[in-house]
Subunit: 135 residues, 2 copies
């Protein structure tokens, strides 16, 4: 599996603009990018904290995964993403070790990373992403 | 505020032993310490991932904060802890910037760190801890 670090932490927010104000104005972090991931129905804002990113996620539709998450649980921490060398190899390893996968093969995520999700039923309630840099 | 990195990520688990098996056996991380924090009614297990720790939290009582969290939301990500130079100074800064505090002054947490919590009502749903090394 060879996890090197936590690549990012995904946080579901109700209002991206208001949340950016908090992360910048209170915590003193700096938003370095805003990106819309149409496929996932989210608008994202990125902050670097040490070697880990915070990825704020605002839903662009109540039908998207973040829209549904917020309706059910309210705003808050949504997923953890571990950096691996090769997402597809790591997904295979996880499956071989009995983990149920959301993504059988990697797909493109924000910032062009190769990403894949493990199912929270197999990860003790934590929605877990594996990601690696594009080749 | 001067946050240097994410010191740890607190994850509420139903069963510490079972969760350790997942973090070690599936993700390939290594548990380096198990500690009971009597004051917080939790038993914790620590893993290092890059420069950030994962802190698994099992409640030792249904009346403790983790016991209540799991009853309400189920197991999953519980809090994020940012490393600062001086927890008391950072708590003061947060309060000056309009944040409601859980801890007005720092107290001792796991691993002897000086810790203090911001209220999730002021942090867009994310229970947020500030922590610094003991002097």
């Amino acid at each position: 599996m060879n996890i090197s670090h936590i690549e990012h932490l995904g946080i579901a927010v109700a209002n991206l603009e208001e949340s950016i104000k908090y992360y910048e104005g209170v915590l003193g972090l700096k938003c370095y990018a805003i990106e819309e991931v149409v496929d996932q129905k989210v608008k994202t804002a990125f902050f670097m904290v040490g070697s880990t990113k915070i990825e704020l996620l605002e839903s662009t539709s109540p039908e998207g995964p973040i829209g549904k998450f917020i309706e059910k649980k309210g705003p808050g921490m949504h997923h953890i993403a571990f950096a691996v060398k090769d997402t597809d190899a790591a997904l295979k390893t996880a499956e071989d070790r009995g983990v149920r996968l959301i993504d059988k093969v990697s797909r493109k995520g924000a910032e062009g990373l190769n990403i894949g999700f493990l199912h929270p039923k197999s990860t003790h309630g934590v929605l877990t992403e594996l990601c690696s840099k594009k080749e």
